[in-house]
């Protein structure tokens, strides 16, 4: 599904220094995979995530999604691509304050060209176990519940790819585990999940672990048992 060929990303700091966030990185992710991208901070894992979701553009290299070069799409088509094929989950949730869970979940529908959107938001919230919290605002929900609302929002357009950037970073162990259960279930039902984390316990729930260092892939393991994958990259 995803093919990255010799991707580089270079930032210029305000001070004038250039930072090579990713250098010559190639990666292939197939439909139905559950991939954890791990690495120390500054290893380029968030940059990789942003490039996968077209939130950022690579400086060099090719990004093929289902065989289509998506990195070179214009702004409008990139927006359409994100809306239709990608669901994002962020560490800080990024929910609209003072806005009900249902309306937050329905936000991507506002920008979609679907003919009918009735009931999709409600169904997505039911899928993450929040059917009884439809009209609660973020401030009335716990951190775990907020992240589940964010997952429902990522799911509402039924995207092929779920991208999660440190989804459990702001959660307690209990909530984190619940969120990971949801990712697990989503992956089992066929959804491709890519998550970035520095928490190895979280990474252990994935079926493939990619380790980055200095903007390059230094380890990539996909054995049958998730736990072994973790040991292998370590």
């Amino acid at each position: 599904m995803i093919e990255l060929h010799a991707i580089s990303k270079t930032y210029t700091r305000p001070s004038g220094d250039t930072v090579h966030a990713l250098s010559d990185l190639s990666l292939r992710i197939d439909r139905g995979e559950f991939v954890a991208i791990v690495g120390a901070s500054g290893s380029g894992k968030s940059t990789l995530m942003n490039l996968l979701g077209l939130l950022d553009r690579p400086t060099e290299g090719r990004y093929l999604f289902d065989g289509r070069d998506v990195a070179s799409l214009d702004v409008a088509n990139q927006a359409r691509f994100r809306n239709r094929y990608v669901g994002f989950i962020f560490q800080v949730f990024h929910l609209l304050p003072r806005t009900s869970a249902l309306e937050n979940v329905e936000l991507p529908l506002l920008y979609s060209d679907r003919a009918s959107t009735t009931g999709l938001g409600r169904r997505a919230l039911e899928a993450v176990g929040l059917a009884d919290r439809l009209y609660h605002t973020p401030s009335e929900l716990s951190g775990g519940q907020q992240q589940r609302v964010a997952i429902a929002r990522a799911l509402v357009n039924e995207p092929d790819l779920l991208l999660a950037d440190e989804p459990t970073g702001n959660l307690d162990a209990q909530s984190a585990s619940e969120v990971m259960d949801i990712f697990d279930a989503l992956n089992r039902s066929g959804r491709t999940v890519v998550l970035v984390t520095h928490d190895l316990a979280v990474a252990a729930r994935a079926r493939r672990v990619v380790r980055l260092k200095g903007g390059r892939v230094v380890a990539d393991a996909r054995p049958t048992e998730p736990k072994d994958a973790l040991e292998e990259v370590q």
């Binding site: 942003n50 927006a79 609209l96 003072r98 936000l107 506002l110 920008y111």
Partner: protein
Amino acid sequence: MSTRRLVAHSVQALARYRLRTCFIMVGSLVGVAALTFVVSVGQGAKRKMLTTVRQIFGESSIMIGAGGHQMMGGPRPGAARLTLDDIEAVAKALPEVELWDAQQTMSASVRRGDATATARVLGQSERSERVRGRSVSRGVYFDAGAVKRLERVALIGETVAKDLFEDEDPLDAGILIESVPFTVIGVLEPFGTDLHGMDRDNEIVVPVSTLMRRLTNVDTIAAARLLVKDPQRIEDTAREITRLLRARHALAVGQPDDFSILTPVEVQRMVGTVQRVLSLYLPLAAAVTLVVGGIVAATLMLASVNARVGEIGLRRAVGAHPQDIRLQFLVETAVTTAGGGLGGIVLGLAAGQLVATRLELGAVFSWSAVLLGLLMSGLTGLLAGVVPARRAARLLPADALR
């Protein structure tokens, strides 16, 4: 993406931040209200002033006041040396003077039975009916004989009539002016308020001789009005009058006048000054309010947009086109600024009407003020709301989310 849904969504977003929305609206409201108010009242006042000036000061009258260097005010007692003889001598010496009327005034308490009132009592000659262009609506004006014989006859204004007689017929009734009995022989034509906001219907006109002898016991007059034959030569006539009066008062060269002369030319100059205040400086002051209000609104909008860069990034991440973001902020800005602007217009016009009614000005609705106000608040919204939002919409979503 449906535009209609996006517009509705934007309005809902505003409703979630009622306080902030209100403050932004108030920011553009005050300026527009001030401008609308000042311009509409200013124009009304200007119109009122011009009609009043024409009403009390035709183009062929010269006013002489007792005391120097003052215009349109009351007499200064210390400086008052103007007498009936002065005016009579001037009128005799200058054939250009067609008609004249001298005036002395006092404020007096007026009584009839248990009803009392305070009114301005004007001592005038029988010629004032023509010189001042104000006659009676009921009854008769007093004649020259009444002035000669110091008759105690009075013409009362509508306000006085109402205070003392309510619905009764005042004609031929007796009233006491400072305890001196007078007979009402006429009711003055209604006038309304003048430029100073004085109720000119709260006046009583009596023969000037009667007032000077029986009420005030002075032998000077407060003012006089002369009608000239040729309005074109009015300035020359005024100079002649000055020369004659200075001679009669034995003023040495270099000594200031102890009287003042007002001609229509001078009045026009004064009116011009007042007009500039009304039509330039007051709106300028209002424009300052507009700018300050605009800055307040702009600051709030700017802060709001900056605080929402993350939200913009998120919207882009879930599929919003930059133009969707622009539309949303355009709608939000349009609703707040138009809401504030329209509110300001309504408030300004309402306040203008209120003031105009109290001062009997007849406020004028000014399209230019309304348009300027709306334009300014629209511009504020554009610069502080739409432009930064456009900039945020153009950011890479990854940068906006950071």
